[in-house]
């Protein structure tokens, strides 16, 4: 009993709760009353058509854009409207849709900056990211300039940088976009790796295979509202979801 209570308390510390999050740009409603909870170790998929508000959701949670309403709580602490660097230091870190590295810096400098800026510099930080650098084949290219790397590796470096910042919650904005099919399993590797270390992950993604593989639970955004929430098999077979977004392809996939 006691162990459970302690476990819940520890879990509470790192739990991300989004409550009634709303964002309007002038008269344009981009997010309307979005609520969800991300417990430690959770993997949540966020899907929806282009313009549904997926990236805006990440921008608002990480303090890049102030919300028009609603709250964001990390372990019960209200982090709504805090600046990006503060949110990041608290452990909510994002990756970017486009490859986002320090282009003219080497792989080593990139990682070293991520460790330093997040206040986790030193051997400990390097030990934490070393397995990822190894797995993605970046370990042997530490002195290469990051924008000279193949696109897929730049993308994986971007994910590694986000993890280097020692997150409790990772928000991944289309981690597989632009990757070749054969490279996409690296995203799986990444997510499994960070999750095994207690990180919770929110993944915005268009690759439905990847979403099905990785996410036990997904939410579907459409025009800023949550259209559906639940396990992917169930949600992706709903007629309204298919109509809104997934279209004929996925329906065929489901049938097959």
């Amino acid at each position: 009993m006691e162990a459970t209570a302690t476990g819940a308390a520890v879990a509470g510390v790192e739990e991300l709760r989004v409550e009634g999050l709303t964002k309007r740009f002038g008269g344009l409603r981009v997010l309307e009353g979005i609520s969800f909870t991300l417990a430690p170790g959770d993997i949540l998929g966020v899907i929806g058509p282009n313009g549904a508000g997926k990236t805006t959701l990440i921008n608002v949670i990480t303090g890049r854009t102030p919300p028009s309403g609603g709250r964001i709580l990390l372990g019960g602490h209200d982090i709504t409207g805090e600046p990006t660097h503060t949110v990041s230091r608290r452990g909510v870190v994002r990756s970017f849709q486009q490859t986002n590295t320090f282009k003219s810096a080497s792989v080593r400098e990139n990682v070293s900056r991520a460790l330093r800026f997040s206040g986790t510099a030193g051997a400990e930080g390097w030990a934490r990211v070393a397995p990822l650098l190894e797995a993605f084949g970046l370990a042997s290219r530490l002195d290469e300039q990051s924008d000279k790397l193949p696109y897929g590796l730049q993308k994986m470096l971007g994910l590694t940088l986000a993890y280097a910042a020692d997150p409790k919650v990772l928000l991944l904005d289309e981690p597989a976009a632009g990757l070749e099919r054969s490279e996409r399993t690296r995203v799986d590797e990444f997510v499994h790796h960070v999750r095994a270390r207690g990180c919770s992950v929110l993944i915005v993604e268009h690759d439905m295979d990847l979403v099905r593989r990785l996410c036990p639970r997904i939410i579907v955004l459409d025009a800023g509202v949550v259209l559906a929430e639940g396990p992917p098999a169930e949600v992706l077979s709903r007629k309204d979801v298919i109509d809104a977004y997934v279209g004929a392809d996925a329906a065929e996939d489901e049938a097959a």
Binding site: F96, N100, E109, F117, A123, E134
Partner: protein, 344 residues
């Protein structure tokens, strides 16, 4: 092969060869007033030192990809503060030099809170306006600043009671301030090299990894203002007057050209740029308008052809020569590398 943590532990804030060379140049400049009595040499070296100081101010902001036109405004604040102190009986350089740094630095703090959230062309425009506004304030406050007449005939600075009004001392004082400026600039830009580079390249990423971007921008802005202030005092001390026309937009343009033509990527850039362009302008003599034309053409040339300026081009060339020497069969190696890349 796993990356060894000790590979990562190389101190990134250490001074490189360029910082040491820059400091050595200004140490050498201290000897110039005593090595020659040629007043033309004194005049050129003095103007180079002032130009380089002002260019360091621009250089610091460019490390964070912010092109500042506010340098003359801070020069004016430093220059007028020092001269007003001298006119009120404080002539000791150990007091008025720090004052010429601190006054603009203090003004930069609240100004920075307003303007440092801007980027790109907006930052350029607002800093340009700051220079215009400060000049206007000078014109509108003749009681304090002498207005359009400027302030002249102020007592010469002294060092521990010793009068510094002779030509040698004027140049030596400028050299000492320039040495201070280069040491401060080198210390700041080397210590925060990784932070500034991250802000220059990808501010959004740096912030999302936890870097408190505004803090570094504010620090850079404040120090840049202080260094500009010292340049302003050195200029007033050389001209024996502080005058609003010394601190206008033209001064901002000249200073930026020194930095960009010299090379914005190295602390030697402002030094090389100021040395060459001040001297070149001097050779054109009274035909001042040709100097402006020359600066304009050089700026266009550098922006189009050699983004790293003169120092950038030299570094690239040196690197190429070194690589060519390492691999005697360089063309073949390059060709095979290109082929491999094409095949990949």
């Amino acid at each position: 092969m796993a990356p060894e943590p000790n590979l990562a532990a190389r101190s990134p804030s250490r001074w490189g060869a360029q910082e040491w060379v820059a400091v050595a140049i200004f140490v050498a400049a201290l000897a110039v007033p005593y090595a020659t009595e040629d007043l033309l040499v004194h005049s050129i070296v003095n103007r180079v030192l002032i130009g380089a100081m002002a260019a360091f101010s621009v250089f610091i902001m460019l490390r964070m990809d912010l092109l500042s036109f506010a340098t003359p405004a801070f020069m004016a604040l430093g220059g007028y503060s020092a001269v007003l102190l001298a006119m009120n009986g404080v002539t000791e350089v150990l007091l008025i030099v720090p004052a010429s740094f601190i006054v603009p630095a203090l003004v930069a703090l609240p100004l920075g809170a307003l303007v440092l959230r801007l980027r790109g062309v907006y930052f350029v425009l607002v800093t340009f306006v700051l220079t215009e506004i400060l000049q206007l304030i000078v014109f509108l406050t003749p009681g304090l600043t002498g207005g359009s007449d400027g302030l002249a005939g102020f007592p010469a600075p002294t060092l521990l009671g010793r009068d510094l009004s002779d030509a040698q001392s004027v140049l030596a004082l400028a050299a000492a301030m320039a040495l201070l400026a280069v040491v401060i600039t080198a210390a700041l830009t080397a210590h925060f090299r990784q932070h500034f580079a991250a802000i220059e390249e990808n501010e959004v990423l740096a912030e999302s990894l936890g870097l408190v971007v505004w803090r570094y921008k504010a620090m850079g802005f404040v120090v840049a203002a202080g260094i500009a202030g010292m340049a302003g005092f050195a200029l007033g001390n050389m001209l024996l007057t502080v005058h609003p026309t010394s601190f206008g937009a033209q001064q901002a343009v000249d200073t930026i050209v020194y930095t960009i033509v010299g090379g914005r990527g190295s602390i030697l850039g402002p030094v090389v740029g100021a040395s060459l362009l001040v001297t070149a302008a001097d050779f054109l003599g009274n035909q001042g308008q040709y100097a402006q034309g020359l600066f304009g053409l050089l700026l266009i040339f550098v922006t189009l052809v050699a983004r790293g300026g003169i120092t950038g081009a030299v570094v690239t060339l040196a690197r190429r020569l070194r690589d060519a020497r390492r691999t005697p069969d360089a063309p073949a190696a390059a060709a095979s590398e290109a082929a491999a890349r094409g095949g990949a």
